[in-house]
């Protein structure tokens, strides 16, 4: 026995300590004094603001946080377009940009659920288009459902379609690429059938009412300010409380300066949003207010990110995307969790499709669901979501979708044709993944 122990300590050098606290709880605390604490490297583990900054810098360098470089890219784009055409940062164009980005970003949210699993859902675009068509038809002159009931029906349809895709992927173990490709082709036909039913003649308009206002309507300036105040105030209270609790329990990475910074950043964003949108952007008539789609998109963002970050379900999604076998062995029900993610993709795609329908003022057979879903994947990936699963946040689709919208919008303003716009979007996607791949590789080498 002594012989063996000597063998171990001889070899172990730095790690061997003779502290061997027994398993009982109260003695373990005592053990903390004996054994050096594992978090005694405060410089990089985030006890101070500079530590957090340094940690963030390390993360960027190791390719873990795609958000900082992409935000810099976004700022660069804004500066570029502003110098080319001073109308770019006008209040009118900025509000326009928000409504253009709203459905793109939401389609991106949809795709993230399956991307996190390492899967893909190519049918999300047409799935959303079908939800939009269902809503337009039900709420339109042929059926006259109340708008909210029509929306519920539309979301139910798209959720079921998403769940069906997921069931086939999970039960039959067919790659999601193939299953959803089949659905992409098939749903395109279903969309045509819906819109050519009866005497619809290929399009159904939502010419007025709440459905049109979802994207095109605005909050009154006062309501906008109230909403911003509630949003920022709620965020501040929750953040300060939860960070304080983290500090009390000795968790890592939340010095007060960081809490303050987060709150101030959100407050600044909220105030900027309200100022820009509440300014008069009308040319002939007075037009102001935050577009309805902004709180809708932000609401989905907060809800989904909350699900991902704070619930067991979200944790399971990341675990399955990271190592499905490890998750299974740890007792995670992979099948049910994956099915739920596919259903959430369908649901969110439905929401995005309804926003898109609202923006177009109706549903028509000319909706290109294939293009929509590819832009959704591009938005997520440009924002920093991995196609291989396990990495990404909802906010990545927000940033990525904004970038795509800015490029289309900005290039339209400076008079470039659609062909050039598509080429540039392609190059931006390539650049975004290249930056991530290179930083990841250099991190491995380091």
């Amino acid at each position: 026995m002594t012989e063996e122990e000597r063998g171990v300590t001889d070899q172990s050098g730095t790690v061997g300590t003779d502290a061997a606290p027994p398993l009982t709880g109260d003695v373990v605390v005592e053990g903390e004094d004996l054994a050096p604490a594992i978090v005694e490297v405060p410089e990089s583990s985030g006890r101070s603001v500079s530590g957090v900054l340094k940690g963030a810098l390390e993360k960027v360098r190791s390719g873990q946080s795609g958000l900082v470089p992409i935000l810099l890219g976004l700022v660069a784009l804004v500066i570029f377009f502003q110098t080319k055409n001073s109308l770019f940062l006008s209040v009118g164009n900025l509000s326009n940009l928000l409504t253009q980005a709203s459905y793109l970003v939401t389609f991106g949210f949809a795709e993230i659920w399956v991307l996190l699993l390492g899967e893909i859902d190519l049918s999300a675009g047409y799935n959303g288009a079908i939800a939009g068509a269902v809503v337009a038809v039900l709420a339109g002159i042929y059926h006259r459902y109340p708008w909210w009931l029509a929306i519920i029906c539309g979301l139910a349809v798209s959720t079921c379609i998403g769940a069906l895709v997921g069931t086939l992927v999970i039960r039959l173990r067919i790659p999601s690429f193939i299953v959803s490709l089949a659905f992409l082709l098939g749903l395109q036909g279903v969309l045509l059938k819906i819109l050519n039913f009866d005497n619809y003649q290929g399009s159904v308009s939502t010419s007025s009412g709440p459905l049109l206002d979802l994207v095109n309507g605005n909050l009154s300036p006062a309501a906008g300010w109230i909403l911003v105040a509630i949003g920022v105030g709620g965020f501040a209270i929750l953040t300060v409380l939860s960070d304080a609790r983290r500090r009390r329990s000795g968790s890592e990475g939340v010095p007060f300066g960081v809490t303050l910074f987060k709150v101030l950043a959100v407050a600044a964003g909220g105030v900027a949003l309200a100022l820009v949108c509440n300014a008069n952007r009308g040319v002939i008539v007075h037009l102001s207010g935050i577009p309805f789609c902004v709180p809708i998109v932000l609401g989905i963002l907060i809800l989904w990110q909350f699900l991902l970050k704070r619930t067991r379900f979200g944790r399971n999604i990341y675990a399955i995307g990271g190592n499905a076998e490890a998750a299974r062995r740890a007792g995670v029900n992979n099948g049910m969790n994956r099915l739920a993610a596919f259903a959430l993709t369908g649901f969110t795609a439905g929401a995005a499709g309804i926003l898109y329908t609202s923006r177009l003022g109706g549903s028509s057979t000319s909706v290109d669901g294939g293009q929509l879903v590819l832009l959704a994947v591009a938005a997520a990936v440009i924002g920093g979501v991995s196609l291989f699963g396990g990495r990404g946040k909802m906010v990545h689709a927000l940033v990525g979708g904004m970038i795509i919208a800015i490029i289309y919008n900005g290039m339209g303003l400076i008079g470039l044709d659609a062909a050039t716009q598509d080429i540039v979007i392609g190059l931006v996607l390539l650049a975004a993944v290249s930056v991530e791949a290179i930083s990841r590789r250099s991190a491995v080498r380091a």
């Binding site: 063996e4 172990s12 300590t17 061997a20 398993l23 594992i38 583990s45 675990a319 190592n323």
Partner: protein
Amino acid sequence: MEPTFQASPSTATNVAVEGGVATASRNNDQPLLSLRGISKNFGAVQALVDVDLDISLGQVTALIGDNGAGKSTLIKTISGIWSPSEGSIFWNGEQVTLKTPRDADALGIATVYQDLALCDNLDIVANMFLGHETMRRGLLDENAMESAAKTTLNGLSVTTVKSVRQLVESLSGGQRQSVAVARAVMRDAKLVILDEPTAALGVSQTAQVLSLIRRLADRGIAVLLISHNLNDVFSVADRLAVLHLGRMVHSGPASDYTPQTAVEIITTGSFVKAGTGAGSTPSSASGEPA
């Protein structure tokens, strides 16, 4: 889990068995886990034949043997992946049946497989609690999990990890092994089975893991170590158990063996001449384990 209450071989003479008094103070000599006459067939192939094995708390038992000797089959039997074709398993003297990994888990048997089963994209805390997250009002209680993870790692003197919020992909092989072991310990495992824990590690990493194994045993946990590396085995093991072609050909205190005799037993199933020094006649498998 309905353990049929029976006297284990080692407590057969214990009066406490009378009237099924289960609360009798546990005899310190009583092994935590006893296997008696375990056999396992896969069709005509006999993977295990009449295997006896005792594993005690606070001891490192090394299971050694050549490829195909039945080591994997044996640990899969203990961890509930396969049921034995014949034989009985006793846990603290009570007979138990391990039909699924969940049964083994419920008893406190944790197996750390060679591939570790960690999620690279999650941090250490998330990995340690995967599938068993601490909840607070229906939400993940990150603070409680973080401090519990720290306490466990500190208790095991895992000191090389910079932060428990590090992603597992950034850890070295030895650190990953430590996280996998700590996960088992944190869930109150009484028996930790380690399958080739040092196979993929360098020299200093191996030393880290070996001292971790030693500390596990010193904390009163029973450790079953499967290893090909006799240096590792002799530096941490209290007892050796040698499998040869599915039979437990030798078992006894590690001090009864030398690396040379161990190699001989592993390759031939017996050693012809008694080794050097005391204890040169370790009990053979068919006899009574010490």
